[in-house]
Symmetry: C2
Subunit: 526 residues, 2 copies
């Protein structure tokens, strides 16, 4: 029996609020600090560990968090989700993105089919297509191989797949498995499509139109933009376009596409990277074997997230420490700081994942909650950020919890030794140094050079950013966000907040406006 | 006589705190809302207007803000700055980035030279070089033209120039003035340099090493990385490299470079886009005439920022409304949301500009302040963000002020009509719709579909994103941040918060660590 209660009704939450916060600066100093960093670590799959030594918790707080996890039934709620309960209450839908990479529990049958079988079948279809494209069995009208793939999609059809492509582009180059270059068109701004088209050779390009509903305004507009360009180049668009959509969408059976791959209503856009939404473009770009490794990494992290023991479940612990930082310590923002240039767009994906899932003021029953929910998420790769916004993180008036990610080895293996160390060592030395600078600060009589410390962080440490590691990272954060949604008693799987803007934009385009909206429309020449 | 007082000592600040906040939802409704949007607008140069109709102010609050501007002597402080006072108190330096694009007041002589003449001379030098490169008078060893320019720099040597390059790349293509493709190497992560090198033709590439001190670890490391690649390709690095640095740096007179262009201690990294730091790469990429137009736009915005009348000074008003939102209304974060794909990296530049300038807890005399200072800044282009984090902006538990930017016309002029409107019209309709959705919300008995509204925003509306417009945008935000720094009585021009991490990273690389820092170093295999 699962109880869906608001967080502020739980006695474990009251107990958590009553506990004495730790002095992070003192805790992280000396031998005690060394012991914390050694022991506060959990394997999270694909040769990565989640180290929370510098988060603002101690054994006493961890006990309270474990009691919270139990009272909030986090493990049971995850089990309900992967066993096929209607977790997306607003839209009355199952939530099945985990099924794209494995099966964590019972068979789930919906719409008359076994859903695991359905996702596997879609994977088989785009695997087959990618293999044929790579083998030159599917070509352009002149019998020439396709060299480029362009994803046309927005939001979840763009941010996740783009972040993952960039994460693995150089890895694929180094491993001789970059089959096709990928580009992305997302914005309805016509300069986005025009800019991408100006730098590719359309005659050798496959376009993937990605829209679950088949009605996304930006995506359909950009499809027309691209079709125009293909026609102007004397090409037949239907020989250059694929679709990823739902089986019930107008795109599903259209002869406008070489092939269509399906997703369904049980996979939200921001959770769709492991479905055909990410699978088609990534399999074309890197080869299906690479996409499979990526799925395996995600599956490994998912399996670890089932563990009801909070101290052995990185995603659940990361989630609950985040809730503690947000609701008890009162920190409104979290920064994601990967020390890996390849992860340059990963924070933008997490920004959507987290803020669109948990940026809500009502619980899963549509009742207002009396506590703050999802924080603002932002971030850039290190060391770049050190030369940018870290000033505020170190010495600003607000405390911002930090999520670092670092790898022992580079992807391409090319490096130089300067001043006795490689670039990779310098990169890693910087992230280690930052964690300590944030946690412990530095005394100085000159207050301008004084660092208060007490600024918490965790770090995910991996061997190398491989396809498996990217998959595990992605799944870790998906599961973290899910557990936080459970803790706050939210529905993390709808997004009603995007609707009003769409309705008003239609009115503007129909010139059906008055008041301030009409003035803005006039000022913008619409 | 200028008084540098903390904000909480000003009677105008007490008066501001005592004023009744407006009900934005009511204010923006009906004819009253229409009137606000029509009248709350200020020209900001280069065919752009700053419209603050949807910010949380009314005439009464604007009066208090004007009194604040006067008591805080914002116009006088700006005058002191451009007339050559030592505004950067921590480092005891003048602050002269405005001089790169014009002269707003007195001649300023420092280090024995007229500084305006010095910056003009540097501009003349890189203009001459760029013209010679474009004309094929400066070539590679085989007498072939350079086709690509790569900027090697980090922080201010990277974010601003990169954001501006991306802002104008498609404009330059459409106007046949893209002379060279530009790339950027910034991160000490070896995969950054290796990734860029893997996609360019080094034999036809000029590299610009940008480091004021000539000692930036990341930049020197990446220089070695690039030199290695040049040597391996059988090329002479000194024929492929330029330097932008200070006259006193080790790089200034080195024979390792084709040419060196100078900046000085009076231009902070994050304020250096209009100096040789931005000038060399942008003049090579787009031609010196385009860079000149960009400077002209910045100069125009600077001139407008001199106006002591708050209601006619967009930068000053934007700054003070921001202070009101931060300190009186208590909003900790601000989002920057350009409806222009070309401005995709502009928020990252503003993030550095703002957070590194005003993310501080001590005033300009090194004394702790008793109020919050610079907010967290983040953002992505619209409409993309609408399909991502806008959910939280609309329905999350925190209110986040928004800074929109929109243009009536696209850069490339290529467009399609779908459902009766162009992509550009759809883009503009969306930003107009979002402003109203955020301000006025929507009632609904279903609380999941309810929008509280009351979420403030401003919008900068321009004709087109031209070089002049980019310059004016850049200067607007530089001046806004400067005025906020004055309001908070901060030194916005140093960055002591970046030092501690550097010191600790050196210790890690020297294996001179103990405690938790040693454990992290071991975990990261350093």
């Amino acid at each position: 029996m699962i109880n869906w209660n608001n967080m502020d009704t739980l006695s474990a939450y009251a107990a958590l609020k009553a506990v004495q916060p730790i002095d992070l600066r003192a805790s992280m100093s000396g031998e005690n600090g060394a012991q914390r960093v050694k022991s506060y670590s959990i394997p999270m799959g694909s040769s990565m560990d989640f180290n929370y030594g510098a988060r603002p918790v101690d054994d006493a707080i961890l006990e309270k968090l474990a009691a919270f996890a139990e009272e909030a039934q986090l493990a049971e709620k995850f089990a309900a989700l992967y066993n096929g309960a209607v977790i997306n209450t607003g839209e009355k839908r199952l939530v099945l993105h985990h099924m794209c990479r494995g099966q964590l529990g019972d068979d789930v049958v919906a719409d008359g089919v076994n859903k695991r079988a359905f996702y596997v079948e879609q994977q088989r279809k785009f695997t087959e297509l990618a293999n044929k494209v790579h083998a030159g069995e599917i070509t352009n009208a002149d019998g020439e191989k396709f060299t480029t793939v362009v994803q046309i999609g927005i939001g979840g059809s763009d941010l996740g797949p783009r972040a993952i492509y960039l994460a693995l582009e150089n890895w694929a180059k180094a491993n001789n498995t970059l089959k096709m270059k990928a580009e992305f068109i997302s914005n309805v701004d016509p300069d986005d499509a025009a800019g991408v088209l100006s730098k590719i050779d359309v005659a050798h390009t496959l376009f993937i139109l990605v829209s679950k509903s088949g009605t996304t305004l930006e995506t359909l507009t950009n499809e027309s933009f691209v079709k125009d360009a293909l026609v102007k180049a004397g090409l037949n668009p239907s020989k250059h376009m694929l679709a990823v959509t739902s089986e019930t969408s107008p795109l599903a059976k259209s002869s406008d596409y070489l092939a269509a791959f399906f997703m369904d209503d049980y996979i939200g856009g921001r959770y769709s990277s492991t479905s055909a939404v990410g699978g088609a473009v990534l399999s074309l770009a890197f080869g299906p074997e690479v996409f499979e490794k990526f799925l395996a990494g995600a599956a490994e992290a998912d399996a670890l997230a089932k563990n009801p023991d909070l101290r052995k479940n990185a995603a659940m612990l990361d989630a609950l420490i985040g809730v503690y930082e947000r609701n008890v310590l009162g920190y409104p923002t979290t920064a994601v700081l990967p020390y890996s240039q390849a992860l340059s767009r990963f924070p933008a994906h997490l920004q959507q994942l987290d803020m669109e899932s948990n940026g809500k003021s009502v619980n899963r029953f549509g009742e207002s909650v009396n506590y703050v929910t999802g924080p603002v998420i932002f971030g850039e790769p290190g060391t770049n950020g050190q030369h940018s916004f870290y000033q505020l993180l170190h010495q600003g008036t607000d405390i911002i919890p930090l999520q670092f990610v670092g790898f022992k080895n580079s992807q391409m293996g090319s490096d130089v030794v300067i001043q006795g160390s490689t670039s990779q060592q310098k990169l890693c030395a910087n992230v280690a140094a930052q964690i300590m600078a944030f946690a412990c600060g530095k005394d100085d009589d000159n207050r301008n050079k004084y660092f208060a410390g007490g600024r918490p962080s965790s770090i995910i440490i991996g061997e190398k950013l491989t396809p498996e590691a990217v998959g595990a990272l992605l799944a870790h954060f998906e599961n973290k966000v899910m557990f936080q949604g459970f803790a706050w008693n939210l529905n993390s799987f709808d997004q009603e907040g995007v609707q009003l803007g769409k309705v008003l934009a239609k009115k503007v385009l129909a010139h059906d406006t008055d008041g301030a909206l009409k003035v803005y429309s006039d000022l913008l020449n619409i």
